[in-house]
Every structure is written in structure tokens, then in C-alpha cells.
Amino acid sequence: MIAAAWICLISPLAATALITVGGNRLSRRGAGFLSTFSVLVSFVAAVVAFVALLGDSPSRRYHPSTLWSWLTAGNLDFGLRIVVDPLSVMMMLIVSGVGMLIVLYSIGYMDGDDEERRYFAYMALFVFSMLLLVQGGNLLMLLVGWGLVGLSSYLLIGFWHQRPEAVSAAKKAFVMNAIGDATMALALFLLIQKTGSLNFEQVFTAAPSFSNWTANLVALGLLGGAVAKSAQLPLHTWLPDAMEGPTPVSALIHAATMVTAGVYLIVRTAPLFEQAPKVLELAAGLGAATLLLAGLIALVQVDIKRVIAYSTMSQIGYMFLGAGIGAYPDAMFHLMTHAFFKALLFLAAGIVIHALAAEQDIRRMGGLRKLMPLTFVAFLVGSLSLAGIPPFSGFFSKDSILASLLANGWYGEILWVAGMIGTFLTGLYAFRLLFIVFWGEPTPFVREHFHAPKRDVPGLSMAVPVGVLTVLAAIGGFIQFANVWTPITDWLEPVARPLVEASGTQEAVSSIIAVTLGLAGIGVAWVLYGSRTSEVPRLAWAQTLLERKFYFDEAYDLAFYRPAVFVAKGLARWIERPLVFGSVRELAQGVGLIGRDTSRIQTGLVRTYALAIAASVAVVTVVFVAVR
């Protein structure tokens, strides 16, 4: 099992190394297949680890393994350590499974790009980093994986590096994530100081003895990392811009896996967060705020990928809600189904973008249902799942989170209302997108630019993953049916025992209301964008507010970037310049003066010299005697 876990981790890294070193000797498609194969190996290894873990009794499903000491100091020792337990195996399966499908899809999507090899090397690097993140057996390894997914995300967002927007988006994503990394690192320093270790076992055992301050600061630091990585308020602005990357990248990194890492972190370090209940509540509150804000912004977006990106933010908001109230299995369940249906939506959108000569503006799209019936079905399944309509997967997972909120007192009830409003918004924006893109008659733009997807190897490599994900998004939710059968909750029990559990009544009531609201959202979308029987209501200020995304970018620019530039310029002008140039001038003058003065000593008179020598000797003697 341990060997399988290491193979799972190393295989994609090996592919990255091979593709980098291989260079031109490797054909472009060869690089694609190598990358896919390496992730397939990871997936198989993850399945092996899963099966092996099934064989253990639940309480003994915890297998750490250290390859070597990674960083040491005195008696501190942080190993290159992984851990195989139910939580890490679940994430390994999701990451490598969905990852494999998306890398396979990329073979078709990236076909003909100039730098395919670089793309596939980066993709494999990402899968490695993500696996390290979820397998890491201490917080330092987790942080390493955390940073490396940020790096691969940067590399892939900026993959088309000749486009200035892509380059700035990549930098923005990296810097915002670096803020999260920094707060996480601070939390780790505090843990090192308090416990002398970063291994999960030691840290969790010591957690109950933390003072209030320590517990809160540690949890806040970790939450900072989680919020940045998962694009939650207030560090969310990078995610929509990240859509500058190729579409499969958006599907894998910015929907299915990396951005959900924040949820994984909270679940993984639940014993630390549970010592700081206020911080957990804050996490849930941020999740609620994000899901509403993102749901609203998604209503006015006109770029097909950005609509889905905002929907990702909003769905991760639900996961934060779940994790924040301690409904860990529900959050993880939603993480899984979301990986299926959101990857599906992105990949289907990718097919649309491909068929329309790289156009992403939905105002130019329309009537694609008749031209691309299969893609339409896939998109419909994804959207229904997203909107939480039974029996599609999103229904099961989202509704368990919402029901758990009801079991969590008055704070939970407030959050529940927010979640319910979000459900309505989700139905509305998801089907606004679907109706605009697929309904009605083909627009002139579509008629002019549409060309059907080819049925060759690249075409097939795109079709197969979409097909598989369609099936998973449709039926994946049946894995767990709250209060009836709960394999995910049982599986995660040894790692993350839920703090709340909804009763059957709460489940039923919550589900009925959520589905009704979701359908209502779809209904409104139908009236406005499908049948178009009613005009879209316009509120100029609201429209502007949403299109400006609540002015977060502008505010951050004003609050952070400009002051930093201002300070940097100020330092250069008022300190650096005087320091460098001033010292040149004064030194030159000083040297000149000293030279002139010392030249006077050179009198040519022997008696002066003798006097000087005698005086010097006297001084030196006195100094020596004094010092002794």
C-alpha cells in the first residue's frame, strides 16, 4: 500500500522530468500520451492503495511513511512524509481519476499548439503537486504541495505567455496565493514553537492544550491559506482572471481539484480548527458570503468560462459552509460530485469554444443544441447537477450540506437562508448560460464560424472524458444518500468525524425547499433567456456593480498595489538615491581633502618624520598596555 502511494506520487513527476529532458526528441502527441499514462499509473496505484486500505479495520487505516528527513534543525526533524488514510486516498482517487480524464482530453484540445510538450509537462507537474498536497504526511509537506500547485497553476494560467492578459492573470494568481502561503507558514511557525513538530498526529494530540490565542492564530493562518487557494472572500479575485489559461486547465485546476484544496485543508486539520470554533464559524460565514456574491456576479458575466468560474467560487462556498459547521463528510462529498460536474461543464464548454473558433463570448452564441446535440446533453447534465436537481449528483451532496446547517443552531439557520438564496441563483445563472448558448436559432456568428468536432484521435480523446464525466455527474451522487446509506461518512469517520448530523425531517424539508428554489431559478431563466417571453429586468446601478464584480479589483489596487509602488518609488528616490549618490560625492570630496591634508605631512624634513614615528610608537604602546 505504501509502495502504491509512493508510485502514485512519483509517476507524474517522472513524466514531467522526461518531457522536459526529452525536448524535441519526444513527439508532441507522445508527450501527451506519456503525461496521460503517468496519471493513469497514479490512478491505478491510488485504487490499489484504496483496496488495501479497505482490508484494514477502520480504526487502523492510518499509514504514514517517511522517505527521508527533508529539513532538520537541532532536534527538529521534518520528513519527506506521506500518509495513507481514508481522506488522502479519497482525494488521491479524485485527483488522479479526474486528472487522467482531463489530461486525456487535453491531447485533443491542445492538438496543434506550438508548445504542447511544455503544456503536458506542466500538467503532469500539477498532478504531482496536487497529490503531494493531499498525501503529505505533515503540515510542511502539505505546504510544499500547496505551494507547488500554486506554481503549476501560475505556469498553466500563463501558458499562452504572449498574451499580456494571461501573464498578468498568472502573476495575480501566484501573488494572491503567496499571501495565503505566507499566513499558513506563520501558523506553522507557531505550531513548531508550541509542539516542536509538524506531523499530524503530534500536532493534533497537542491541540487541546493550546491556549485560546494560539488555537485561534493557528486556525486563522491556515484559513488564510485555504481562502486564498479556494478563491473565497476576500482573496477571490484571481480565479475569474485565471480563465485566461487553456480550458482543460480551468477544468482540472480551477474547478475540480486545486481550488477545492482549501476544503481539504480544513477537513484535514479539523482537530486544530475545532479548538478555534470562532474561526470555523468565520470560514462558514466567508463561504456563505462568497456563494452569494459569486452567484450574483455570475448572472451578468458574458464569457462562458467566467460564468462557470464564478459558479465554482459559489460551489466552493457551499463546501466551506459544510466544513465550517463541521459537516466534513458532506463537504468532501460535495467536493467529489463538484469535481465531476464542474469538470464536465468546463470540458463541454471547451468543445463549444473549439467548435466556434475560440470564441468565448456567449452573446455571440446561440442555437447550438441542434448543431451539437451530444455536447448539449453533457452540458445539460452538468447544469442540472450544478443546480441540485434530483437525481443528478449535485442534489445529493449540496442538500446534505444545507440540511446539516439546519442542525446547527441560529447561526446555521442564517447560513441556511444564504445557501437557499444561492440555490435559486445557481439555477438561474446555470440555465441562463445553457439557454443563451444552446437554445433558440443559431446566431449569424455561429452559422459563420461553426465547424463540427472531428471524429479522429484528438476528437475521440475529447469525447471519451466528457462521456465518462457525464455518467459520473449523472449518477455519482448515489454513492451517498443521507440517512439511508452513508459510505462516505463511514469511510471518513476515522479521520473526520462530523460534528453535526441532520435529522431525517431536516433532510426532507431542506431538500424540498432547495429543489423548489432551484427549479424556480431554472424557471426564471427559461422565461428570461429560454422562451424569452419576458424582458430581462435592468437596474443600471446593480448591473454596473455586478459587472465591476463589486469593485474588489479596484479596491485592492488602491489599497495595496499602489501604496506598494508608491513606497517603493519613495524609497528609491528619498533613501536610495541620496545614499548611493550622496556617498559618491562625499567620499570623493573626503578623499580629496584627506589627500591634500596628508600631502602637507610630506615635508621632506627628517626630523618631522622621526617625530611622527616616535609619536606613533608611543600611541601604539599606550593602546597595547591599556588593552591588556
Binding site: 525536448g23 505551494g147 507547488l148 505567455h161 501573464v167 517603493a568 528609491a572 559618491v584
Partner: protein, 478 residues
């Protein structure tokens, strides 16, 4: 054997100066000697016993016996790593000069080899006067290398460099004499500790100028800009580490009392330098400027680790010294390669070099992300240990350091993008070639060292201070 590490390059310098060789033979001899020096170091590494505390491979010859001055050299675990980093960087620098071609080769390569010998000597010296002799012997070739082979503004740069370092050296000489006399011996191993604030401050000032620490860095931007690429690589990669080594070997180890007393102002200055350097690097208009100010920031960081005076801080600082030596050398050599192609280092005029130049793009990207301490890199390991160490001294320093991690991301990504991304700048022509095999052969080994260290930073942290109480041991017996 230890003496051979010093004698080999010095002997090489003499060969180059005395024998009437052709320019090509001169350059290749120098490069071979530099490589042999690396081999010699690997041999020493293989024979070094990391489980044993104390000085190893020491050799002692009486020099002025009545003053207790002796020729005394030897190695500790941490100095072994610093010597290794130095000889690797110096070999890369010599190789780069060989490839790029330098006029007056006999003088140039002789000085380069002399510099190598003197630098290694500083790390090995276990006697204060010997330390000073090597220290000065190192500065002389540097003055010439900057002043003769530098860029158009080299004279002013040299003037600043000479005056600042001379002032530092004088303070150090005074401190050495007073310390040696008051301890009754100049031997570093036997001399024991001292509690004089003034002597301590003399040493600190000398090392702070050389490192440099904010605000004593006025010589830095000009010197790093005007020197040839490989000399800048040596200056920022190796020479600055000698100052950090001095902090550790002399200031901290010999003056535990004053170190504790002056820790706060030094840490504050180091933290200021870290932020100040990072911010200036973020706005610097040219390649060299960014790397130069990032060096200033990194020296602040290393000083933070050293003056945390705990295992995490010290181990992190030694690791980061090795890391930064390799990183800044690689970055300066890459900058040199870019400047050869574009004839300028102005960031505004560069851009779009990634297209069609995969080797340059890969090498610069890899070095760059290691330089910004992406988690998982050796630089991250160093920074993490340093900040975790200084966190226990005062959490504020760690917060400042964590902010600097974000700044580092900003300035390094700016540099990477300015060279590689967007559409080609006005100075970048189609004819600008990718990195040539020779350049790759010089730069890639540096990057490979960094990658190996990234997989296993504990190689250094486990093997720098074999016992927990190394500082008492460094302080000596008296």
C-alpha cells in the same frame, strides 16, 4: 590536504602569470584548475566525518609564536558546505569568462584564480590574522576585476566599492588586533569568548559593509551593475557569504554577550534590509538591479537567521547561504547571457524571449521560481527554517519575513515575465539565439545543485552543526 584547497588555485594563478601561454591555453588552464578545485572539494567532502564535532583536517604551523599567531586552517561542517558552494560558483564564473572571452586573459584569469584561493582561505582560516590576510587578499583581485573589466561606469563603482570595503577592513583590522591581544592569542579555536561591545561592533560593521546590510549597501547596486556578469555572480553569490560566515564564526561565536545585547538592533536592520531590498527590487528598471536588490534582501534574511541564534535559524541561514550563492550566481550568469543577446538589461526593452528559446526559458523559469522560494524549493526550506527560528525570538520578524515572501514573488515574477513573456521587446531580435550548449554546461550544473538540494535540504542542515552546542564549541576553550 586542507592547504591544498588554498594552494591549488594560487598555484594555478602563478602558472598563468609566469608561463608564456596563449590566451586560449590560459583560459582553459584556469577553468581546469577551477574544476580540479571542485574535485578536491568533493574528495574532502567524501572523507569528512559529519558525525564528529569540532574542527577537522586542521593543519597548524607556528607563524609569530610570541603573539600566538599561526597558520591554522581547518573545516567545520558548515564551512565545508560554504567552501563547496564557493568553488562551484567560482568554477562556473571562470567557465563563463572562458566562454564569453575576456581581454588581457593572463591578468584576468590569474586574478580569478587568486580570488578563488583567497576566498577558500577565508573559510578555512582558524587564526584571526590569517583570516584578515585572506580577507584582504580577496579584495585586491576584486578591485581589479571590477575596475578593469567592468562596464562604462566602472570607475565610480570601483571607487565606492574600494572605499566602503577599505573602511570595513580597517575596522576589522583594529578589532582583530585588539581581540588578539586581549585574548593573548590570535587562534580562533583557542581564543575563547570576549564581552567587549566595541570589538564586537567593529567586526559587525566590517561584515555588515561586506554583506551588505542596510543601510551600508551604497556600493552594491553600482558594483553589481558595472561588473562583468561572472564577477557580479561571485560578488553576490560568494563574497557576500564571507560576511555572513564572519558573523557566524567570529561575531556570534566569540561574542555571546554583545550578540545578545545588540541582537534587537541588528535584527531590526536585517528586517528593514529585507523589506527595503525587496521593494527596490520590485521597481528596479533592469535585470541586474532586480538581482542586486534581491541579494540585499536575501542578506537581510540570512542575518535574521544568524542572529536568531537558535538551531532553526542557524541551520536555515547556512542552507540559505548555499542556496543564495547558487541562485544569484545562476541569475547573474543568465542575466549576462540575456545582455549579450539584447545588448541591454533594461526590462522595458526585453520580453518575449521564451518563444523559440526553450532552454533559456526553462533555465530562467526554474532558477526564478527557486529564487522566489516557491514551497518545495531549497530556498523555501532555508527561508522556512530561518523564519521559524526567528519566530521564537520575536514573531514580528517572522511576520515581516512572511510579507517579504510575497514581495519576492512579485519582483521575481516581474523579472521572469519581463524577459520571457509578452511580445518581443525592442532589444530582442529574431536572431537572438537560445542558450548555447556551453552556457548550458555552465549554468545547468548550478541549477541541478539547487534541484538536488530542493529534494534534500537536510543534506546540509543535518551536516552543518553536528552537535547541538556548536556555538560553545566555536567559541573555543579559553
Amino acid at each position: 590536504m586542507t592547504t591544498a584547497l588554498i594552494l591549488l588555485p594560487v598555484g594555478g594563478a602563478l602558472v598563468v602569470w609566469l608561463l608564456p601561454l596563449r590566451p586560449f591555453a590560459v583560459a582553459s588552464t584556469a577553468f581546469l584548475v577551477a574544476l580540479a578545485e571542485v574535485a578536491l572539494w568533493i574528495d574532502t567532502l567524501a572523507r569528512f566525518d559529519f558525525s564528529r564535532p569540532g574542527l577537522q583536517f586542521d593543519e597548524q604551523q607556528s607563524w609569530f609564536s610570541d603573539l600566538h599567531v599561526s597558520y591554522h586552517v581547518g573545516l567545520y561542517g558548515f564551512s565545508l558546505w560554504l567552501v563547496g558552494m564557493s568553488v562551484v560558483v567560482l568554477a562556473a564564473a571562470t567557465g563563463y569568462a572562458f566562454w564569453a572571452g575576456r581581454d588581457r586573459p593572463r591578468a584576468y584569469y590569474g586574478l580569478m584564480l587568486l580570488l578563488t584561493g583567497a576566498i577558500v582561505g577565508v573559510f578555512l582560516a582558524q587564526d584571526l590574522l590569517l583570516f584578515y590576510v585572506f580577507w584582504e587578499a580577496m579584495l585586491v583581485p576584486l578591485y581589479f576585476l571590477v575596475g578593469v573589466w567592468g562596464g562604462p561606469g566602472r570607475l565610480r563603482a570601483t571607487l565606492l566599492f574600494v572605499i566602503y570595503t577599505m573602511a570595513g577592513s580597517l575596522l576589522m583590522l583594529a578589532s582583530i588586533i585588539v581581540l588578539g591581544i586581549s585574548q593573548g592569542t590570535f587562534d580562533l579555536v583557542d581564543s575563547g569568548t570576549n564581552s567587549s561591545d566595541w570589538i564586537f561592533l567593529g567586526f559587525v560593521a566590517a561584515f555588515a559593509v561586506k554583506a551588505p546590510l542596510f543601510p551600508l549597501h551604497a556600493w552594491l547596486p553600482e558594483t553589481y551593475r558595472e561588473s562583468s556578469a561572472e564577477v557580479s555572480a561571485v560578488l553576490s553569490g560568494v563574497v557576500s557569504k564571507l560576511a555572513a560566515f564572519g558573523f557566524l564564526r567570529i561575531a556570534i561565536a566569540k561574542f555571546p554577550g554583545p550578540t545578545a545585547d545588540f541582537r534587537t538592533p541588528i535584527l531590526v536592520l536585517a528586517a528593514c534590509g529585507l523589506v527595503y531590498g525587496s521593494l527596490l527590487a520590485f521597481r528596479a528598471p533592469d535585470l541586474r538591479g532586480v538581482i542586486a536588490y534581491s541579494s540585499l534582501a536575501q542578506m537581510g534574511l540570512i542575518t535574521l537567521g544568524l542572529f536568531a541564534v537558535n538551531p532553526l535559524g542557524l541551520n536555515g541561514a547556512v542552507l540559505q547561504m548555499v542556496n543564495h550563492g547558487l541562485i544569484s550566481a545562476a541569475l547573474f550568469l543568465i542575466a549576462g547571457a540575456v545582455e549579450r543577446r539584447a545588448a541591454t538589461g533594461e526590462l522595458q526593452a526585453l520580453g518575449g524571449m521564451a518563444r523559440g528559446r526553450p532552454a533559456l526559458a526553462t533555465v530562467l523559469m526554474t532558477t526564478g521560481v527557486i529564487a522566489l522560494a516557491v514551497p518545495g524549493s531549497s530556498a523555501f526550506a532555508g527561508e522556512f527554517a530561518i523564519l521559524a527560528g526567528v519566530f521564537t525570538t520575536g514573531w514580528g520578524y517572522a511576520v515581516v519575513g512572511a510579507a517579504a515572501i510575497v514581495f519576492a514573488a512579485m519582483y521575481m515574477l516581474r523579472l521572469i515575465s519581463a524577459v520571457l513573456h509578452r511580445s518581443p521587446g525592442r532589444a530582442v531580435t529574431e536572431a537572438a539565439l537560445d542558450l548555447r550548449p556551453a552556457e548550458l554546461g555552465i549554468i545547468v550544473p548550478l541549477v541541478l545543485c539547487l534541484l538536488v538540494l530542493s529534494a534534500w535540504p537536510a543534506a546540509i542542515t543535518e551536516r552543518s552543526f553536528p552537535t547541538g552546542n556548536t556555538l560553545t564549541e566555536l567559541a573555543g576553550s579559553r
